[in-house]
C-alpha cells in the first residue's frame, strides 16, 4: 500500500465521518423536536382544559367535586355522580376482568395442549380488535335485555335480601345500569390484560419452572410461587393498562349505563361516567357555565388517569426494588 492511497483513504473516512456527524446532528435535533412536541401538546391540553374549566371552578369552588347536583335548568353543577360512576364501573370491570384474564393467561401458557394455544390466544386478541361501539350496541340490544329478564330478578331476590350488602343489589330490574356497564368493560379490558400476562408468563425461564416441578411442586404452586413472583412487574403493568382503558372508555359505556346523573346505592340502577356525560351533553350544552362544567369534568378525568398512572409507576418501582433486594 502506498502512502498516497493511505492518505486518500484517511481523508475519505474523514469526509464520511463529517457527513455522518451532520446527519447525526439533524437526526438528533429532529427526534428532540418530536419529543418536545409531545410535551408541548400535553401542556397545551392541560392549559386549555384548565382555562375552559375555570368558570365552573370559580363558580362552584371545591364543592364542584363533592356535589351530586347536575341541574342544567338552574345552572347548578357538581361532578360527584360522574366521578363515582367512572370509579365504580372501572372497579367492577377490574374485579371481573383480572381473575378471568389471569386464568386465561395461565391456561394458555401452562396447561393448554400445544395445538390449542395459538387459536385460543388469537381469539382472545380478536376481542381487542372489536370497536367499542360494537360492544355498546351488543350490550344494549342483546346483553341488557338478557340481564334484565334472566339475571337481575335472581340477583334481586337472593343477594338483594341479604342485610347490609342487599342495598347494593336492590331492584327494580332495568337491564341497563352500572353493573351491566362494568360487565361490558370487563369483556373489553380482558384481552389487554390477558395478552400482557401471557407474554410475561412466557418470559419465565423453563429451567426455573422445571426445577420447581423437579422439587415436587404442584402446578398451582409453580404458578403462584415461581411464575407470578418472576413476572409481577409485567402483570401490574397489564392491569394498569386495562384500568386506563376502563376509565376512559366512552361509547360502550354510554350505551348501557343509563346516563343518569345520580348516585344510587344499588349497582343495578343507572348512573353515568365522566366520558359518557361528555359524549352525551357537549353538543347541546346551553350557556357558558354548562359547557365549562363539562370541560371541568374532562379535566378531572385527566387528573384521575394521571393519578392511576402515577400509582402504577410507584408500584412498579417498589416491586423492582423488592425483586432486586
Amino acid at each position: 500500500m502506498t502512502a498516497e492511497t493511505v492518505e486518500a483513504a484517511a481523508s475519505r473516512a474523514d469526509r464520511q465521518g463529517r457527513a455522518g456527524a451532520v446527519g447525526d446532528g439533524i437526526f438528533r435535533a429532529l427526534t428532540f423536536f418530536f419529543a418536545l412536541l409531545v410535551l408541548l401538546i400535553l401542556g397545551g391540553v392541560i392549559i386549555s382544559l384548565i382555562a375552559g374549566a375555570w368558570p365552573a371552578f370559580r363558580a362552584f369552588g371545591p364543592a364542584f367535586v363533592i356535589s351530586e347536583v347536575w341541574n342544567p335548568v338552574t345552572g347548578k353543577f357538581g361532578a360527584l355522580a360522574p366521578i363515582y360512576g367512572t370509579l365504580v364501573t372501572s372497579a367492577i370491570a377490574m374485579l371481573i376482568g383480572i381473575p378471568v384474564a389471569f386464568g386465561v393467561a395461565v391456561f394458555i401458557t401452562e396447561i393448554s395442549p400445544v395445538w390449542l394455544k395459538r387459536p385460543l390466544a388469537t381469539m382472545i386478541e380478536l376481542l381487542a380488535a372489536i370497536p367499542s361501539i360494537i360492544y355498546g350496541i351488543w350490550g344494549l340490544f342483546v346483553f341488557a335485555p338478557f340481564v334484565q329478564q334472566y339475571i337481575q330478578p335472581g340477583i334481586i331476590d337472593t343477594l338483594g335480601n341479604i342485610p347490609g350488602i342487599g342495598a347494593l343489589f336492590a331492584g327494580p330490574p332495568l337491564g341497563i345500569g352500572v353493573l351491566t356497564a362494568g360487565f361490558i368493560l370487563a369483556i373489553m379490558v380482558l384481552p389487554f390484560i390477558s395478552a400482557i400476562m401471557r407474554d410475561v408468563f412466557e418470559t419465565v425461564p423453563p429451567m426455573l419452572k422445571e426445577s420447581a416441578y423437579g422439587l415436587g411442586a404442584t402446578r398451582s404452586e409453580v404458578v403462584w410461587q415461581v411464575v407470578l413472583p418472576f413476572t409481577r412487574v409485567g402483570v401490574v403493568g397489564g392491569v394498569m393498562l386495562g384500568l386506563g382503558r376502563a376509565l376512559g372508555e366512552t361509547m360502550a359505556v354510554t350505551f348501557v349505563i343509563g346516563n343518569a346523573h345520580r348516585i344510587s346505592a344499588s349497582i343495578l340502577q343507572p348512573g353515568t361516567t365522566i366520558s359518557a356525560s361528555l359524549a352525551n351533553e357537549f353538543t347541546e350544552a346551553f350557556g357558558d357555565l354548562y359547557r365549562s362544567s363539562l370541560i371541568a369534568l374532562g379535566f378531572i378525568l385527566f387528573v384521575i388517569t394521571f393519578i392511576v398512572l402515577a400509582i402504577a409507576k410507584v408500584m412498579l418501582l417498589r416491586l423492582q426494588k423488592q425483586a432486586g433486594g
Partner: protein
C-alpha cells in the same frame, strides 16, 4: 313582462352579481330534529336554482353558538330564544315547520294505540311517583286493558335536546309538581330513569327494556314501528297521533301577538289538538354584513314555505299554514344590510 326584457334583466343581474351568483352556497347549523326535512328541501332547491345549502345538524346549542359567532348564515334551534335574548344578541327567529312527539311503551301484549295516558300521569311516572304499570292512575285511564305489575322503566334523552324542551315544557304546564321540582329545558335534572342519546337512543332503550316508556318524535315512532300511546289533550279527548292533530295545535297559534314568535305549542286548546307539539326555529342576525347572502337564505325559506309542504308531510312534519307564513315573511323586514335597507323585498329573484 316580455320575454325579451326578462332576458335582458337576467343578463344584467348575472353581470352585476357575477361571482356571488356562481358561488351560491348558504350555510346553516343547529337542531337535529328538522335535519331530514331541511336536507330534502335543500336537495330539491339545489336542483331548481343551483343554490346549495350546507346544513350541519350539530344540535340546537351548537346552532345558537355558531350563529352568535357568525360562522354560519343561519342557526337552527328547537327551543325558541326568549325575546330579550334575541334583542341582546341582535337576532331574529321564525319557525319553518312543526312536529309532534308521542309516548312509546314496551309491554307484552299492548299494541300501538291501545294504551291511553294523560299529562298528569306521565308527569308522575317521570317524577318516580308511579312505578308500576298496574298503578291505579294508569288502570283508571285504561279500563279493559290488562296491565302487568311490571316495573316502569322511564327513558329520557341523555343529550340536550329540543325534543326534551318540548316534552318538559308540556309536563310543566300540566303538573305543578313537575314545574316546581324539575322545570323545563333542553336537558333537566331527571328524578328517575335511563338516558338514551338521541331519538334513536331513547327508542332503542324503550323498545328493548321490558316495561319501558319514552318520548320520541312521531316520525321516529312510525319508522321504527314503536308502540305509541293515545294521549288525552287539554279538552279531555283521547287522540291518536297524526299530522291532522299536530296541525290543529298550530292552527290556533297566535303568532302575531307573540313577540319574537316565542310560542310553544304544547297543551294548546282545541278539541282535536295534540298536546305535545312544537315548532323548530331558524335564527338570523338582524344586521347583515353580506345582504346578498342573507337574501339567498330568505329566498330558500320563502321557497320552502311555498313549495315545501308536500315534502314536509311526506316526512311527518307539519307545514306552516299560509296565514302564518305571511306573518313570518313580514318579520323579515327587520333583517337589514349595512345600508339599513331590508335585504328581502318580498320577491324571489
Amino acid at each position: 313582462m316580455k320575454a325579451y326584457s326578462t332576458l335582458l334583466l337576467s343578463v344584467a343581474a348575472a353581470v352585476a352579481f357575477g361571482l356571488a351568483a356562481q358561488a351560491a352556497e348558504i350555510s346553516g347549523a343547529g337542531a337535529t330534529f328538522p335535519y331530514p326535512i331541511y336536507a330534502k328541501w335543500a336537495a330539491a332547491y339545489a336542483q331548481k336554482t343551483g343554490t346549495r345549502l350546507n346544513y350541519q345538524s350539530i344540535g340546537s346549542g351548537g346552532g345558537i353558538a355558531q350563529i352568535n359567532a357568525r360562522t354560519v348564515d343561519f342557526g337552527a334551534s328547537d327551543m325558541p330564544l326568549k325575546p330579550d335574548v334575541l334583542e341582546k344578541d341582535g337576532l331574529t327567529q321564525f319557525p319553518p315547520v312543526i312536529g309532534g312527539e308521542v309516548m312509546v311503551v314496551n309491554l307484552p301484549g299492548i299494541k300501538p294505540g291501545q294504551m291511553t295516558l294523560d299529562g298528569p300521569t306521565i308527569a308522575n311516572i317521570y317524577l318516580g311517583k308511579i312505578t308500576k304499570w298496574d298503578d291505579p292512575a294508569i288502570a283508571k285511564l285504561n279500563p279493559g286493558l290488562k296491565l302487568p305489575s311490571t316495573a316502569i322503566a322511564v327513558v329520557h334523552r341523555s343529550d340536550g335536546s329540543g325534543t326534551t324542551f318540548i316534552f318538559t315544557d308540556y309536563l310543566s304546564k300540566v303538573s305543578p309538581d313537575w314545574m316546581s321540582q324539575v322545570g323545563e329545558g333542553t336537558s333537566v335534572e331527571w328524578p328517575v330513569g335511563l338516558g338514551g342519546k338521541g331519538n334513536e337512543g331513547v327508542s332503542a332503550i324503550a323498545s328493548r327494556t321490558l316495561g319501558g316508556i319514552g318520548y320520541v318524535e312521531y316520525a321516529y315512532a312510525l319508522q321504527n314501528k314503536l308502540t305509541h300511546t293515545k294521549l288525552i289533550n287539554s279538552a279531555g279527548n283521547a287522540l291518536e297521533p297524526s299530522i291532522a292533530v299536530f296541525q290543529a295545535a298550530a292552527a290556533n297559534a297566535d303568532w302575531k301577538s307573540a313577540p319574537g314568535f316565542y310560542l310553544i305549542l304544547t297543551n294548546q286548546p282545541g278539541k282535536n289538538t295534540w298536546p305535545i307539539t312544537g315548532a323548530t326555529f331558524i335564527l338570523m342576525h338582524k344586521k347583515q354584513d353580506n345582504p346578498e347572502k342573507a337574501k339567498q337564505v330568505l329566498e330558500f325559506f320563502d321557497w320552502a314555505y311555498k313549495n315545501g309542504a308536500p315534502m314536509a308531510r311526506s316526512l311527518d312534519y307539519v307545514p306552516m299554514p299560509p296565514n302564518a307564513v305571511a306573518i313570518f315573511e313580514d318579520s323579515w323586514k327587520q333583517i337589514v344590510g349595512p345600508d339599513g335597507k331590508p335585504v328581502w323585498d318580498g320577491h324571489s329573484s
